[in-house]
Structures are given as structure tokens and as C-alpha cells.
Symmetry: D2
Subunit: 342 residues, 4 copies
């Protein structure tokens, strides 16, 4: 039976990627598409790559358009999801691609987002311990941030196995689509081509408390995170280089074994063979996360690196994967593990 799906925020990058994936999903039937400033616009002009939906017209975001669906994806600016969700009732599965319901700690939410905390929903990263079970049958899903997805997948096996100290150092490079479609001077093509540049250095990025939440839960103790995001001259992709001090006695073999054990049954998280390192180019448009890990005995650190597509596994793919789990469908239904290269 078809699952009828609406997408709020269909003109943005996250909404467009949700639609790209739903077009290939054998059970999804694409219903209402909504926008705010783009309401009334033809999708063919707004998202010309979604050719099968070219003649669709965006409706204004609100219950008129969004009611009557089995699933509603919210791909809205931060802070807008709660109001829309309230209007849709308890029976519809709402999958929020925004940040509003990710954090458990209201104080951290307010400190980083500057607005009242809306609540906490089951977290759409099924690979984390306990997360899959919490998603099954849920009517609400908070899709993780793109950076926390990449970082949590890279580091959770190390923390789950107690291999490393609770102080993680993370430097991640993201493609520009992570910054969204709103035009800003520093995101112009002229500015970003040829440029690697950091931002939110020193603990200021909003994804930091989400990483701390995830890693601390796995570690069973507070984990501090030094997180430096950088903007890379590519449209998509995150490469997260994560490391932490190895605990005494930890060996390369133990590290490898822990990662193999943690990831062996995951359909989308793939530990590469030894000697091969992840590249964002290999996951372009794919829901796969590629992982590799090394032990540097001279520096005394474990280095785990992940590559994901920030819009697929990092946003819309994770959202559809969570939808599958919540609805009791096969978790991988309609989700590619094949990227586009070169």
C-alpha cells in the first residue's frame, strides 16, 4: 500500500533531496509540496533536477496543504517545526530535518539556538545504540545534523568499546550545500571555489552539543568535543577527521576489532578494508557512510574518519531511513548505497 508523503520546504536543498529519494522509493507516493517565499512557484524552475515533478506547484506551508498524509517531512528553517507539527495531529509521522527536537538538554538548546526548547523526539540515527528501537513505531523523528551524523558514526564504536579518552578532537570539511540555499556573499561560487575556510571555531558551532550528547551517551560518561567545521569547495559531502587519545594498552588490532564488531550488521555504514580511506567522492548521492580507523602509536591516538553525503546520509537519506524504520518497512527500502562518480 502506498505511503502518502508531503514535504514542507520543498524548494530548499534538504527538501529537494528528500524528494529525489522519494522518487525512487517503491512505497512512497509524493503528495503536497510546500514552501514559504516560493509558494506558487513551479518545482521545475526551483529544482530543475527533479524532472518528474517539474509541473508541481508549491503550496504555502500549513495544515491546509499538509493534512491528509501518512508522513510529513519538515525541511524548514530552525524554530519553525514545532508550530507546524502541532497543527498536524498525533497520527501522522512527522520527520523533522531541522534541529528543533534533537537536543535533550533545554539549557544547551537555548544557549546555542537562542530560543525556547521545543522538546526532544526520537533521534533518527538508527546506528547508535538503542536508537533503532526508539524509532520503531514512533510518530516523531528528529533527524540528526549532518556533522553529528558523520562524527557519531566515526567515533561511536571507539567509545562503545572504551578504547579512547573522553576528549574528542574533530575537524570536518563540508560541501557548501550544508549552508543552505539562502544567498549570502560568502557562499557565492566566486568566493567558495578555491577556498578552504573554517567557521564556528572554538566551540561555537550548533552541532557541538549534539555530538557531545551522542558520544557521551555511548561512552557512559561526559565526552568533551573540540569541533572545527570547515567549508570546502564542493557542493556536497562531509569528511570528518576525528581523534581521541587511546586508553592505555589499546592496540591497532583491538581498534580494528571493535569497529568490525560495531559496524558489521549495519546496511549503510561500511568499514573500509585496511589501507583504503574514505572519500566524499565515493558517497555522492549515496546513503552510505564510509569509515576507516587507525591507531597512531607515536601520537598515542585513535583516528577515525568518515565520509558521507551531507544531504543524503547526513540529512534526507537519514530521514527516509528513519521513516522506513518508524513505519516498519525494510530499513534500506529505496535508499541507494551506490554513489555517483566521478
Amino acid at each position: 500500500m502506498a505511503v502518502r508523503v508531503a514535504v514542507a520546504g520543498a524548494s530548499g536543498y534538504a527538501g529537494g533531496e528528500v524528494l529525489r529519494l522519494l522518487l525512487a522509493h517503491p512505497r512512497a507516493e509524493i503528495g503536497a509540496l510546500t514552501g514559504n517565499s516560493n509558494a506558487g512557484g513551479r518545482l521545475g524552475a526551483l529544482q530543475p533536477h527533479l524532472l518528474p515533478l517539474a509541473d508541481r506547484v508549491l503550496e504555502p506551508t500549513g495544515p491546509e496543504a499538509l493534512a491528509g498524509h501518512d508522513v510529513v517531512f519538515l525541511a524548514l528553517p530552525h524554530g519553525q517545526s514545532a508550530a507546524v507539527a502541532e497543527q498536524l495531529g498525533d497520527e501522522v509521522l512527522i520527520i523533522d530535518c531541522g534541529a528543533d527536537f534533537r537536543l535533550e538538554d533545554a539549557g544547551e538548546w537555548e544557549r546555542f539556538y537562542g530560543s525556547p526548547h521545543a522538546g526532544t523526539w526520537p533521534y533518527g540515527l538508527p546506528e547508535l545504540p538503542g536508537a533503532r528501537a526508539a524509532l520503531e513505531g514512533s510518530k516523531r523523528v528528529a533527524v540528526p545534523g549532518c556533522y553529528p551524523t558523520a562524527v557519531s558514526l566515526a567515533l561511536f564504536p571507539a567509545y562503545a568499546a572504551g578504547l579512547v579518552e573522553p576528549e574528542a578532537v574533530i575537524v570536518a570539511a563540508s560541501g557548501t550545500s550544508g549552508a543552505g540555499k539562502a544567498p549570502k556573499p560568502h557562499l557565492l561560487g566566486s568566493e567558495v571555489m578555491g577556498a578552504m575556510s573554517p567557521y564556528g571555531v572554538g566551540g561555537g558551532h550548533r552541532h557541538t552539543p549534539e555530538m557531545i550528547q551522542n558520544l557521551s551517551a555511548v561512552a557512559g560518561e561526559p565526552v568533551s568535543v573540540s569541533f572545527t567545521p570547515t567549508l570546502a569547495p564542493m557542493p556536497r559531502g562531509i569528511l570528518a577527521t576525528c581523534s581521541a587519545k587511546a586508553r592505555p594498552g589499546v592496540t591497532a588490532e583491538a581498534v580494528r576489532a571493535a569497529y568490525e564488531k560495531a559496524l558489521q550488521d549495519e546496511p549503510f555504514v561500511h568499514l573500509l578494508p585496511e589501507g583504503q580511506w574514505p572519500s566524499t567522492a565515493a558517497v555522492y548521492g549515496s546513503n552510505a557512510a564510509l569509515i576507516q580507523v587507525a591507531h597512531d602509536p607515536a601520537a598515542g591516538r585513535v583516528i577515525a574518519i568518515s565520509a558521507i553525503d551531507n544531504l543524503t546520509k547526513g540529512t534526507a537519506g537519514g530521514a527516509v531511513q528513519s521513516m522506513n524504520v518508524a513505519l516498519g518497512l525494510p530499513e534500506g527500502l529505496g535508499l541507494p548505497t551506490t554513489g555517483i562518480a566521478p
Copy 2:
């Protein structure tokens, strides 16, 4: 019933793209994968984006590996297809992504390729007049070149309707994957990023006689082609800007009407609404060709522009589309018209 498919040349860009598409094709069962210098290599190392095939190992190209399949795709360097095809017998459907069997004129072949002409096979551009019928049931397909695909789709409606003079002027920009995976200094990332550069100027590019063949057949008279290819700083995509002098009395309305008529039933060739122009970004990984056409009364010319993905519609997608036609399957089976953007 599954169609068992082998791919010769699976480590290159064309072969990799054939595999990417076959992985999503509901009837294809991927059989042998072969290579030459890469025989013995793991596909996971050679094509890391093809994660579901990561553990496959390439066999040497030859009848030992390739026999026993329903379909064999040849993605080999020019000049090698005939010998392989001969060994495989008449009953297997052979789809040659190379140039060997595209040209009808042996003299032109020899002039441009410098080797004896191997013959002519049905031409895998179903959209050209008569081509679809010739492909149905055929056991041999010559997949068009990427540039001739883009150019022929842009201009055939104008020539079919007699709107323009038989002198076409074409400037096309191609992504670097069109030049293949063999490492050459001028194809290094350091060299191509930031660079637009022409090559084969003045009639020297091997795709020129193929364009002349296609357009002349449609026009019913010899069409001359001035073709300038340029290398663009992007991995994929062709933007072909094609123009010819308008015949006396031709109007913008007549041009639009001719294109609408010629393209209205095509599943993969899409005439954009007036005012919207094709971008390679909208067909990244898609088998669609986007077309727009204009009449410039001051210059007295009709300008037709197409955007395709050189590896999808321009090579592997056209190949799979032709396979579908040859086998009597629905023409669009397993082929995306959705691109990946941004």
C-alpha cells in the same frame, strides 16, 4: 526473468557508469566484470562508489569471462571491440560504448581513427528518426559518442523541420570524465580546475563525422559542421550550444512548434518551458537531455542548446536505454530522469 549482463572494461568511467545504472535496473543481473590492466583488482578499490559490488574481482577481458551472458557491454578503448565481439557469437546482445561501429562511411572512419573500419551497427540514439525501429530486436548496438548525442538531440528537430541552413556551428563544453581515466598531465585536477580550454579545433575532433552523419540523415542533404569542443572544470556534463542560419521566413513560433512536435513523446528528451535554459547541473547522473531553442532575428540564426550528463545519457544511460529497446523491455526501465543537485 533476469537478464544476465557482463561488462567489459568495468574499471573505467563508462564501465563504472553502466554498472551504476545496472545496479538500479530491476531486470538486470550483473555477471562478469572484466578489465585489462586492472584484471585481478577488487572493484571496491577501483570504483569505490559502487559499494554493492565492492567485493567483486575483475577478470581478464575475453570469452572465458564474457560468455554465457544475455548482454555484454563493451566499454573498451577504440579499436578493441570488434575482436571481442567476434568471439561472443551472434545470439548475445552486444552493446559497444566505443566508436568502432558508429560510422557508416569507411573512409571517414579511417581518416579520423587511422585504422581499418570494423563495420556499422544499429545506432543507439533511439530519438533519431528511424533509430528506435532499427534497435528493436537487434543483437548489436553502437552507442553514440557523448558529443554527437548532445548535438544531435539539440539540432535534429530543426533539420527535420527544414528550419535551418545545412551549416551548423557548435561549441560544446564537456566535463573531464569525457576524457577518460587514463592519467595524462593536462587532465590533472591542478590543471583543469579554473580552466576552460578548447581542443580539436577546426574539424579535428573524431566526433565531427558522427555529427555530420546524424544531421545529414535527418536533413536529407549534406550538413557541414563546425565543431569546437572545450574542456570545462567539472567532472561530468555536456553543454552543447548549436546554431545555424534560419531559412527565410522562419519565425520563433515555427521553431518552438517544431521542437515541441519532435520531442513531445520522448521520455528522456525534455524541451524546457520558454525562458528556462538547460544546465548540466540539472542532469547530473540523469538520463535526461534538457533542450531549449531560440530564434535570434537580428543575427538570423536558430540557437539550440542541450545539456546532458556525458556519462549517463551521453554513454552508459544511452547504452542501457538501447538495451531496453533491443530486448523489448520498457525503454525507460531502470533509468533515472532525476539528477543529483546541488
Copy 3:
């Protein structure tokens, strides 16, 4: 003796490039820098690559700031130059990087720009016949558009020598800086990376009448121009592929000889050796224009291709070159013919 120079519009791409070149100019002393919305801003934040000027602060554009200089460069949006120029008096050398004073035909100006024609100033492309003499001692200079610079340099030798018919077909690819620094969605890095896309197709681009003006003057008869600009995924550079039908009897030797003769004494326009083609990568940041020409006997056309940096020779470099000529300084003073590569 130092030449005291002010730059109006110092926060944009053209203004920034003027400053980059002036910093290396042995006679220029950089005076006032002005902006509109950016007035009050630190140049170090607005143009972080201009490190020696990092502590300069932009003043509001107007006579208060701009008076008292020997030279004023105007790098303003179209339509604003006349008012500023009027306030500065006749004795100051005003070099307008905008379009306002380029066209001779008021009707064409109004048709393409939709505002009253401000007048016509000596045209800052010294390489065109007669242009250098008109610039010497002038107190006013209209800097050419970037596309007309590339196209006129590529084609004027052919028209000057009467080699080709008066119907030019031009397809040019430009880096994104040609579209300026104002943030628009289609200019986002996420949109332009991986994208080749045309715009202003069919005679609509504002640089078309300027090309017609230049080529017609050289040809001594009206030349029609079919011009298709395309946006390429690179920050800088123009590659202009220009062609026209060869006149009867024209040979490759005659073409070569005409270009050699026309360009042999030019310090910035370089005809490449036969067999080598221009690349935008070779003129990155350079004031050189690289030219190559071919005769395609089968298509009966002469193809001339030029590569320039749109911000250097195409805007700011041409402006400084014109300043040198107007002031009686050595034409090449302070201007690089060395690009940055790779």
C-alpha cells in the same frame, strides 16, 4: 612623481582587482576608497586578499572622498557613473569600468539598458585600430566589457584583413566573478560548481551591441553577432570561441599571416604558436590575452579563440592599461603578463 588614485566601488570584484593591480604599480599612490552599502567597512574584512590595505576604511562614494586625485576609477553599478563624474571636474582622469559610456548609438543603449544614454567616451581597448591614439591624453575612458574585450581581440584581425563574412557566431564561457558580488541564488557555490549554463541567449546580452560596434568599425560594414554567453564553474576567466564564414579563396596561411601582422607589436595580446590553444588557466591574474586561430576548410569557417582573465584584461587590467596610455606612461607599467598556475 606619484599618481594619486581613488577607487569608487572598492568592495566589489572590479574595484578589488583595480586595487590589486595598483598595489603593484610603481607610480600609483592609492588614495580614497569608497563604497555605498559598505561605506564604513574595513577593507581587510571586505577584500581580505588585499592585505597591504587591510586597515583602510571605505568612505561613502561622492566628491568629498573622490576630489583631489589625479585619477578616479569608477567600479559602480551601471547607470551611476555619469552623476559621479560630473561632480569631479574636467581635469581629473576618470576611468569608468561600467557600461555607461561605451556605446556610440543612443538607441542601442536605451534598448539594452533601459535608461537615457549618458554619452560616449574614448574606448579603453588600445589594441583596436585607432583606439590607442584616442586614449592618449584623454581625461575620460570607457573600459570595455569583459566579453567584448575577449571577442574583439579574437576577431578584429580577421575583420581588419577582410578574411571573413560579416556574420560572427560567438560562444563564450565566463567565470562567475563576471556576475559580480551581489548574492543571488543561482550564483551560489552549490549551484555553480558542476554547472555549465547559458544565459541571455538569442541576442539578449548587453554586451552584444558593444561587440557589433567594435567589429563593424573594424570591418567597415555592419557585422551581425550571434552571441551566447555561458557561466562556467570557475571564479575567473573568459574563453571566447568565435567564428565566421571564410571569404572565398581564404587560406590557412593567409589567416595566420593576418593575425601575426595584427598582433605582432601588441604587448598584451599574444598569438600562440601553431598547435597550442588558449586556456583561461594560463592568464589567471594576468593582463595578457592569448589568441589562436584556425581555418576549417570542411566547414568553411575561420575559428578564433581567445582566453583572458575577465577581471584583469577584461576589466581592471584594461582599465590600468588605459590609464597608462592616457597619462603618457609606458603602456605596460605595473601590469603582469604572468598568470598564476596551477
Copy 4:
């Protein structure tokens, strides 16, 4: 009086950049240019951006060509410099852009480079404590590696002031020119555009011992380095994100003050104002290094980030700067602190 300069390895990226800078150096007179496999080639074909040298022809690398100069730059593959240097005598200033003479510890050299240690020359990073004095009057200079340049400039103020623990964690992104001009499949434009990928993870990169050497000397105790280099989709630039645990009691103010003090007199190393972060785009073609530093109290770390052009300050610019110091010329002579942007 002119300084007569030869460049061995003039067809590669480092040699080409040395020549680009020497062309703008008021005292340099460019003498012999040599190559190995490219000997006999025209520089205009090998380095088309060096237009003023287009007609120069490469001679074979050896004493025949290189003798009789005041300065010889060696831009050769690792392991070849010692033999060439020996043939040139003690009176010529030899500046080695390769690795051969950088390391003091023969064991570390042999472990990382697998060949006998050639010796140690004065180290061409004048900004390090004591380095400038050692370069003055020297006839031999070992130019630092590009990564060690970026990392040492970012971290030496912190170690000099005793602000951080002796365990540095570094993740750096480099443009592709850092990998040289030899064509390899993974460096093809098709592969690198859209790709961020790590390499040499876990302590394997050859620049690691050089960083350890520099930082340990400044710190006065052994500093361990966890170094992860990544390849970024841009031709030039290094962004180095470096961090270490803050020592007890260290404050943001103390960190800022230490960096201001350490860098205030440096002509090429620029501490950005608070709130502004370095971007590789701002140093494209410039010899400047941009630095910013932050204290993250939650994570307990000091994060220092530097941006350089790997070919300019990271190789050829550092080499020319060292030449200036060694010859007693003004240190900044002929070296740009202005980048090219956008």
C-alpha cells in the same frame, strides 16, 4: 647589481612558481632553466602562464647548465639534490625546495624516506626562533615542506609561550598542486573535483617528523604530532587546523597576547583581527600566511589555524624569502602579500 639565478626543475609546479616570483623580483636575472624528461622543451608549452619566458628552452639538469649563477634553486624530486649540489661548489647559493636537507635526525630521515641522509642545511622558515640568523649569509638553504610551514607558523607562538601541552593534533587540507605534476589516476580532475579525502593517516606522512622537529625545538621538549593531511578540490592552498590542550590557567587573553607578540614584526605572517578566520582564497599567489587562534574553554584546547598558498609561502615564496635573507637583501623584496581573489 643583478643576481643571476638558475632554476633546476623548471617544468614542475615548484619550479614554475619560483619563476613566477623571480619574474617580479627587481634584482633577479633569470638564467638557466633545466629539466629532466622535459629537457629540450619550450617553456611556453610547459608553463604557458609564464608568458615572458615562453621562448626559453629547458636544458638538461647538470653543472653544464647550472654553473655560473649566483643562486640555484633546486626543485627536484626528493633524493636528487645532494648530487647536483655537490657539482656546483661552495660559492653558489643553493636553495633546495626538496626534502633532502630538512631533517636533523638521520634515523628519522631514513625511516620516512628510505634512503641515506644527505645532511642538514639551514632551515628556510625565517619566522622560527633563530632561523633568520642562521640563514643570513648562508650558501645553503633547505626550504621547509608546505605542511610544516603552515603548521609551524600556526603553533610556534603557543609553544614558545608555553601555553599548551606537547601533544599537537593537526588536520590540514591541501590543494592538489601539493601532490605535484606527475600524472596519477587519483589526481585526475575527474577524481579530485567534489572530493575531500585523507591520506597518510596515523603518522605516515613524511612531513610529520619535520613538524615534530620544529615544534619540539620551540617548546624545548619533545612534542608529539598527530597529523592528518587531506586532499581538497582546489589547485592551491593549505588550511591547517591545529590544536593542543591548554595548560592550566591559560586564558583567551593570554593566548591572544602571545600570538600578537610573536607575530607583530613578521612581514609575511599576519594575525587576523579577532572574529576573522583565515581562508586559502585570501592568500592565492601571495607569500602571506594568515593566522587566527582561539581558546575553547569547554574543550580545554587552544586552536590555531593558518592559511597559506602551498606553492608560494609553502614552497617557492619561502624559498625566495630565504634567498633574500641569505643574500642580505630586504626580506620582502619582490614577494607579494597581495593574493588574487576571487
